[in-house]
């Protein structure tokens, strides 16, 4: 399908039609210029913001909620988790390329091999509309980890805001169907708009690269992390020196997916919930008899790096970091994943 052009007003009409009775999650901007993901109602479409870059919140919490009921027993209930899982229809608008890549990474975890039916249902019932970044944050480093500030595939639809116009591209049969059913709201995109998109995208790529030049990081990260497993950098006064084990980085991370199953009584039966867990927590590793394979913080800290840059490539052929930089902003200890990678790569302590 050819790229299409539309206006903001027409696009809102389009959204109104495709969201229907379903859910809409979209980016909005707050007074201080920060971008958020919010659940919007049909009369809030004017609040939608398509500028800047990725939101503070990740959409992970929709597909893999912080807490969700995944089973009931002794008897599985007729609907919900143990019956036939059915997620609500949802439109996700404003996901950036890094967020889309994160979903592709989570897909490996939740749908490869053994299928997580609830996750699968949420994925199948959502329409993903990605949006090009136009102004990266200082913490953005997508270009350094094989991602980009714009998506080229994997979305249902992609929107590129260009001087008052919106260039819309379909990337899946589902996306094509959505726009072709409302063809009156779009026109074929003229060549000059496509050229402008190309130039804009290149400019944003350059901006992200410029932001990250001082860090001097570069692939292959798997080798960097593996080679440095016994490095002094990991020791307590090293990379983890200011880590307070709060779990902020893993909670804001769009790809961290550790969880724990916990049970409790409910309505005369029992419910099993899946809750987010954090590999920095000592309790995460606790085994029978209070033993732990990772009693030291440095080992747990290292696990997150090994998981993302070594185990994921081994198991799924992809590094589990999209360069969104949320962990950098969230860390109360001012730990910057780029500085960590840089120090591991060079073997030299990087000033903080």
């Amino acid at each position: 399908m050819k790229a299409l052009s539309t206006t903001r007003e027409q696009f809102e009409l389009f959204l109104d039609k495709i969201v229907g009775q379903g859910l809409l999650f979209a980016n909005v901007e707050d007074e201080e210029g920060r971008v958020h993901f919010e659940k919007l109602s049909a009369d809030e479409l004017t609040r939608i913001f398509l500028g800047k870059a990725r939101s503070i919140e990740t959409i992970k919490a929709f597909f893999f909620p912080p807490r969700s009921v995944v089973a009931r027993y002794p008897e599985g209930s007729s609907e919900g988790p143990s019956g036939e899982p059915q997620a609500e229809q949802a439109v996700i608008l404003g996901l950036r390329a890094c967020g889309l890549k994160a979903l592709e990474i989570l897909d490996h975890v939740f749908t490869d091999d053994v299928l997580d039916p609830l996750y699968q249902s949420r994925r199948e019932n959502s329409l993903i509309i990605t949006c090009d970044c136009s102004q990266p944050w200082e913490s953005c480093f997508c270009t350094e980890v094989g991602c980009a500030p714009h998506a080229e595939s994997g979305f249902d639809l992609n929107v590129s805001p260009l001087n008052g116009k919106l260039l819309v591209e379909a990337g899946s049969p589902k996306g094509e169907k959505a726009v072709s059913e409302h063809a009156d709201l779009f026109t074929e995109a003229p060549e000059d708009l496509l050229q402008r998109r190309k130039a804009n995208r290149q400019a944003v790529v350059e901006q992200v690269k410029k932001i990250n030049k001082p860090f001097k990081i570069a692939p292959p990260y798997q080798q960097t992390v593996q080679k440095q497993l016994t490095s002094e950098s990991w020791k307590n006064q090293g990379l983890a020196y200011s880590c307070v084990e709060c779990g902020a980085c893993t909670h804001v991370c769009p790809t961290c997916r550790c969880f724990l199953l916990v049970d409790h009584e409910k309505d005369g039966g029992y419910e099993r919930s899946m809750i987010w867990d954090v590999c920095f927590y000592p309790g995460y590793w606790r085994m029978a008899g209070n033993l732990s394979p990772k009693p030291r913080l440095m080992d747990r800290f290292q696990n997150r790096f090994s998981c993302k840059f070594s185990y994921f490539p081994d198991n799924y052929d992809v590094i589990s970091c999209t360069g969104c930089g949320r962990c950098i902003e969230a860390c109360p200890g001012n730990i910057d994943i780029r500085r960590c990678l840089s120090e591991l790569r060079s073997g030299e302590k990087v000033s903080r």
């Binding site: 002794p74 969880f259 029992y270 394979p293």
Partner: protein, 274 residues
């Protein structure tokens, strides 16, 4: 597990008998309906309703799936609750998970089974499986150690196994104890100058991680190659299907790639034994 089935959903099984093995170890006999087929070494997630799950490897024979026996040391939240239970109630089961012991690979070879404490529980399932087809193996040697005579698991079966054709059984306790006239010393002392063909054998070990470490070092010193050694590794598996992250050891998820790992695959993992 069938496609589209909820991997987190337990099925209920009646607890038909509780057998006291030692003051701190009990065997729970469950009758899942329908029976759950499993391979020796695969593990189950056992649910105490409302309290939660914990991973255990059955100690019963994979050739007798009508009842599943799980032998458990009282050592934490779920196991404390389990030890207070009486026959008649229903518990939840999920599984089996993991690969189990590669019994087919042991055919025509000598199998050395090294256990410590309650670590003999998963190994008992393997021992049953080996004895069931004993003609397939050259010999099965069982080396077992516990801290005290009271803590020896499945004592009544030791003699039974020792009497079987092509099976040898040796037991030791850590320190001398009144009334004990058997061997004394750590289980590694049973591995001195083994009369086993180094080229035609496999070793399987299960026990506390500290024991696994010293057993492995001893076996390497005795001339076994890493490829010949299988270790039943422990982590607190939660999901059982390679998603939750808790059982990661190097790039492996013990719940689906183990829990019985070939030492050659994991020998380069830093701090393997904690």
């Amino acid at each position: 597990m069938a496609e589209n089935q909820n991997p987190y959903q337990p099925t209920m099984a009646e607890l038909v008998e509780v057998i006291e093995e030692t003051p701190t170890i009990k065997t729970f006999v469950l009758r899942p309906e329908p029976p759950i087929p499993f391979r020796a070494g695969q593990f189950m997630e056992l649910t105490v309703p409302g309290l939660g799950e914990a991973p255990f490897t059955p100690s019963s024979s994979p050739h007798r799936p009508e009842t599943m026996e799980i032998t458990i040391l009282k050592t934490g939240k779920v196991t404390d609750a389990l030890h207070g239970l009486k026959a008649g109630i229903r518990l939840g089961l999920r599984g089996p998970f993991g690969k189990g012991y590669p019994v087919e690979k042991f055919q025509g070879k000598e199998v050395l089974v090294v256990g410590g404490g309650v670590g003999l529980a998963p190994l008992r399932s393997l021992i049953y499986a080996l004895i069931e087809e004993i003609d397939q193996f050259k010999r099965v040697s069982i080396k077992y150690g516990a801290k005290t005579p009271q803590e020896l698991c499945f004592r009544r079966q030791h003699e039974e196994w020792a009497k079987k054709r092509s099976v040898e059984m040796e037991v030791t306790i850590d320190l001398p104890a009144p009334g004990w006239d058997g061997k004394v010393g750590l289980v590694t002392t049973l591995l001195d100058d083994l009369d086993i063909d180094r080229e035609n054998s496999f070793v399987v070990s299960c026990g506390p991680e500290i024991m696994l470490k010293f057993v492995t070092l001893k076996l390497l010193e005795e001339g076994f190659k890493p490829e010949q050694i299988y270790l039943s590794m422990n982590r607190n598996m939660s999901c059982g299907v390679g998603k939750c992250g808790h059982c990661i050891v190097g790039k492996y998820f013990l719940c689906k790639d183990g829990p019985d790992m070939n030492y050659a695959d994991v020998m380069d993992v830093p701090d393997l034994f904690g």
